[in-house]
């Protein structure tokens, strides 16, 4: 019995909600996996902050063009219909509300949609990149994440304790245990692993979630 989803399975679930032809920005790292799990027949257009729309797979080793990279500084290729643009146009696409979806990682998500994903607080070198821009402007801002931290603390919380990336910006969270929407300042449970009771899930969640009449089973392929 599945006790929690792998990162690949969380990414798969998030990918099912992306429409054909959607303009999508995937955060660096884990969120990049979402691109691998688009349903057959659907092709989103992926945006990268450094100025490409419709980039594709990584090139084979040895054939990298280092003028053709993504926001994670990894070499990419182009799909037919790709476009280049400078950074101000790139963030006009972001801030101007032209992206359909941004999918980001998280340290914490609060029930009012606040997101903390850029800093673990004092110490070290702070780095923000495009995260604070991406959370404003995409029509839908979704988060993919483990449901709890490595030490078992909830990542879905009443109020974020880590430095905020954005205020009231997240609309849906795909976790290793559930799919939860944020509506009117509350978590609303949409799907959960069938192996988990409502009480067990609530105990792992840092704020009370609302349970609508129908909560679907969170079912994903094994891989």
């Amino acid at each position: 019995m599945t006790t929690k989803l792998s990162n690949a399975q969380i990414a798969w679930r998030a990918a099912q909600d992306i429409d054909d032809g959607a303009y999508v920005n995937l955060g660096i790292g884990f969120p990049e996996m979402v691109a691998q799990y688009q349903p057959p027949g659907r092709q989103a257009v992926f945006h990268t902050e450094n100025g490409i729309l419709n980039f594709g797979e990584p090139p084979i080793a040895g054939e990298e063009d280092w003028d053709l990279i993504n926001a994670g500084k990894k070499a990419v290729t182009l799909n037919p219909g790709a476009a280049f643009f400078h950074h101000a146009d790139s963030f006009a696409m972001v801030r101007g509300g032209h992206l359909d979806v941004a999918i980001l990682g998280a340290y914490q998500v609060a029930e009012n949609g606040d997101l903390a994903n850029w800093s673990i607080g004092a110490g070290g070198v702070p780095a923000v990149g495009g995260a604070m821009d991406l959370v404003h402007g995409a029509k839908r801002v979704a988060v993919i994440t483990e449901h709890v931290t490595k030490t078992g603390a909830p990542k879905l919380v009443k109020r974020c304790t880590l430095p905020l990336t954005g205020v009231a910006c997240v609309t849906r969270v795909y976790t290793s245990l559930a799919v939860i929407d944020i509506e009117n300042g509350r978590f609303v449970l949409r799907e959960k692993l069938p192996s988990l009771s409502l009480e067990e899930l609530q105990a792992l969640t840092g704020a009370e979630f609302l349970v609508p009449d129908t909560v679907a089973d969170l079912v994903v392929p094994e891989f």
């Binding site: 450094n50 990298e64 280092w66 003028d67 400078h86 950074h87 780095a127 604070m132 821009d133 404003h136």
Partner: protein, 240 residues
Amino acid sequence: MDKTVPSLVAAVSGIGDGATVMIGGFGGSGAPIELIHALIDRFVATGHPKDLTIVNNNAGNGHVGLAALIEQRMARKLICSFPRSADPRVFTDLYLSGEIELELVPQGTLAERIRAGGAGIPAFYTPTAYGTDLAAGKPIEVFDGRPYVQERWLRADFAIVKAHRGDRHGNLTYNKAARNFNPLMCTAAATTIAQVSEIVAPGEIDPEAVVTPGIFVQALVAVADPQQEEVLNRAGARHP
């Protein structure tokens, strides 16, 4: 009109102590490695320029390009969005020991501040960073029911950028995603110095294809086969 300068040395000779210098590129893509190295070489030989304020998206990688400039302690301050890389040790060590100042700016706000600087717009409002530590102390205004943060323009004494082709009037094209911050920085500096793979006669670049019009470029230097930061780092290169 001919904005061509004969050498990299000549191209960077006017950059003095305390200057604010925008350096194009996103990571290694579009980074003017040869112009940066020419500036470092001058510093190693003469002790100048120093106390620079550098504007770039990042803080360098390894020991070449911007990282090498920081390693020489030529920069007093860095304005950037993401001071991390595969090998960020040069910046990290100086930052943690308090030897370089950091102004951290969200990436889209950094781009827009530079764009505004080039366009003569002293301030603008953005939703980015509202309610976060990076908006601390900045004026907030509500427009149509939504709060926005006031951000100021960024302008520079110099921009050093990398383009692909340039004509003698300074019209520029770029290679793939290497344009990134380069066209913005060209507009926001009093003096823009561009390295290009090829300098051509006016008329040889289709006006429809010009990305940076020559009005934004003051000097042009040919670097036929420019180095890539990623390739240098994989070879373990250091500069000087």
